[in-house]
């Protein structure tokens, strides 16, 4: 039966394996047909609700600002590329992009390294205080970030890390740790002990065991949670808004878009705003199409028990 297939693959498998020619020996039951029609209808309705606003913004980004206001539903008369030029040069979308990548190279690497180290020790070593630290991390998933924003602002100010990328990187790491540690601890616990014991017999120390045996074995979990952290930190809004507020040109991508939206409010150049939004969407879209299986698995990682 289908019980041994991997989660998530059952429906696709069934859908793709359906032969286009109807099998002559058995006519489908009418109940199935009506329901099939009904479910297809609903599913398409929601799919369109996702596709239409996104496609519409892409279309609008090629219109002049006047066209956007006067003829929202129509096609652009001629593609108005100037919007993209404006968004790139005046809107500085490219710059925000590089800023974000620059921060995330360090913050994601740091999160994964520190998270894996803590999770490994918590999962595999018994010592006094183990449970306390574990629950300390797990509880962090529930803290409303608003509560900490202002004390955090003061903390970074005191050590002169406010408005610096270094400050933002360590804050990103600290705030990504709860879920990372929580998830990876569960993952390290599921790994078989046999390989580790064999390595110990061969004379591997604690450090070699971790870096050369356990980390490679934990690769699927590490990939899933890396994707989770990349998306989470890429979309982070409040932390950079508070901790990186001084120089607008240093902004992260989300913040930069928000600034663009704010400026559009009084300059009225909605064409450039939409072009900027589309530019910010393109890399996410490409990454999503290429890695959608891994992304879905990574983001719903909490489902794995």
């Amino acid at each position: 039966m289908a019980t041994d297939t991997a989660p998530g693959s059952t429906s696709e498998g069934a859908a793709e394996a359906t032969p286009p020619v109807r099998t002559p020996d058995r006519t489908p039951r009418p109940e199935g047909n009506a329901l099939n029609f009904f479910s297809q209808g609903f599913l398409w309705l929601w799919a369109l609700m996702v596709i239409i606003p996104v496609a519409w913004i892409v279309m609008s980004s090629f219109k002049t600002t006047r066209e956007i206001a006067s003829d929202p539903l129509g096609l652009p008369e001629a593609p108005h590329w100037a919007n993209y030029v404006n968004a790139w040069t005046n809107g500085n979308i490219g710059g925000y992009f590089l800023n974000t990548v620059q921060v995330m190279v360090f913050s994601v690497t740091g999160t994964m390294l520190l998270g894996a180290m803590a999770a490994y020790v918590l999962a595999r070593y018994e010592f006094p205080g183990n449970r306390v630290i574990y629950f300390g991390f797990a509880a962090g998933m529930m803290f409303p970030v608003f509560l900490a924003l202002f004390p955090l602002f003061k903390t970074l100010q005191n050590v002169s890390l406010l408005n610096t990328y270094t400050g933002l990187v360590i804050v990103y790491i600290a705030y990504s740790l709860p879920f990372t540690v929580f998830f990876l601890t569960a993952f390290f616990r599921t790994l078989p002990t046999g390989v580790a014991e064999a390595a110990v017999v061969d004379g591997a120390g604690h450090y070699r065991l971790f870096f050369q045996v356990m980390l490679p074995m934990a690769k699927p979990g590490l990939i899933a949670i890396t994707i989770f952290n990349i998306i989470g930190q890429w979309n982070q809004f409040l932390l950079p808004l508070v901790l990186l507020g001084r120089n607008p040109e240093d902004a992260m991508i989300s913040q930069g878009l928000a600034n663009l939206a704010l400026r559009q409010g009084y300059e009225g150049d909605s064409g450039a705003l939409f072009a900027g939004t589309v530019l910010a969407m393109i890399p996410i879209f490409i990454a999503y199409i290429l890695f959608q299986r891994q992304i879905q698995a990574g983001l719903t990682a909490g489902a794995i028990k």
Binding site: M1, T3, T5, T10, E12, A14, T18, T23, P28, E31, G32, N33, L35, N36, S39, F42, L43, W46, I51, W56, S60, L73, G115, M117, V121, Y125, F127, G140, M141, M142, F143, P144, F146, L147, L149, F150, P151, K154, T155, V171, A174, L177, P178, G205, H206, N235, L238, I253, L257, A258, A261, S270, T277, A280, I284, Q292, Q296, L299, T300, A303
Partner: protein
């Protein structure tokens, strides 16, 4: 292997635990402390005033009380609607197809639907805010819904959906649901895939329709996942603010009609310079989140069905 065990443990934990304690635990603890003072946030002088801030919270009819009410509404509506839609779509994708040779099939194109539904989940709130602000915009600013309503001859709100006191909160919740459904579709879908197919096939032989199948087989076996989803969505609901910051007039307006707890904390902390008052509200939010998690874990627990 006993050799060097504690130095190793210490060397691996020092940095992550230190960083976490310094930048997460300590600020939260400080927020609790600040909430008992009259600190404005800018000066260095403050005095402890006990629970006065907490008492005053519930007297603030301009911002705090509407915000509590709206966050309460989101807390109920967002999980209910998102989970219902997520379960419905996941069931349709996995078991909404024809019965062929005694086997139930998923609908055609299930893969495509999953990809499409999930997409909003990877978009940043900033992008979603810009997108939907324009979709909801008034007709003379080129709004999508208002334009479409007028095109087919139906009445549309003159100033758009977000400037209308009666519609703004519903409009925001709709966007929250829009962006969350895909995640829960995939989440429930992978949980459903681990339910043995023969249970459904036996039900087909017994002549059961899809509706009883859903309520008698799928839902009981997915109860754990539903509970997890509930906790996630409750936390999301309590943290709603960025979308409102991006979309609504006055970042919570018009006329405080979309004010939420997160937004009010923001306003008091960063616009009004009333740090202590903001922290008190944050502490209330914290305990709300905590008790929600405890309650749903306590009362949601059922006997686990092994399969």
């Amino acid at each position: 292997m006993k050799h060097g065990r504690y130095p190793f443990i210490l060397s691996f934990l020092a940095l992550p635990v230190g960083l976490y304690a310094w930048l997460v635990i300590l600020p939260f603890a400080q927020a609790f402390q600040i909430s008992l003072t009259d600190w404005s946030g800018s000066s260095n002088s403050f005095e402890y005033i006990g629970f006065d801030n907490y008492v005053n919270l519930f007297k603030d009819e301009r911002l705090v009380l509407p915000a509590l009410r709206h966050t309460g509404i989101i807390l109920v509506v967002l999980p209910v609607v998102t989970i219902a839609l997520g379960l419905f779509f996941a069931f349709m994708l996995n078991l909404g197809g024809r019965v062929r040779r005694g086997r139930i099939e998923g609908v055609r194109g299930a893969r495509f639907h999953k990809v499409v539904y999930f997409f909003p989940q990877v978009l940043s709130v900033a992008i979603i805010g810009i997108l939907w602000k324009q979709v909801y915009a008034p007709e003379n600013f080129g709004g999508l819904i208002t334009g479409a309503l007028t095109a087919v001859g139906l009445p549309a709100p003159v100033n758009g959906f977000l400037a209308d006191k009666r519609l703004v909160l519903a409009a925001v919740i709709a966007v929250l649901v829009w962006s969350a459904v895909g995640f829960y579709l995939v989440f429930f879908s992978s949980a459903m895939a681990s339910i043995p197919r023969d249970l459904y096939e036996a039900a087909v032989i017994d002549g059961a329709g899809r509706v009883p199948m859903f309520f008698k087989i799928t839902l009981p076996l997915l109860w754990d996942s539903v509970q997890t989803a509930w906790i996630y969505l409750s936390i999301v609901a309590l943290d709603v603010f960025v979308l409102i910051y991006m979309m609504t007039p006055e970042r919570g307006g018009p006329d405080a009609a979309s004010e939420v707890v997160g937004g009010v904390i923001w306003k008091y902390a960063f616009n009004h310079g009333e740090q202590a008052f903001a922290s008190a509200l944050g502490v209330v939010l914290f305990f709300a989140a905590l008790s929600l998690a405890v309650v749903s874990l306590r009362f949601g627990r059922r006997e686990r069905i092994e399969f």
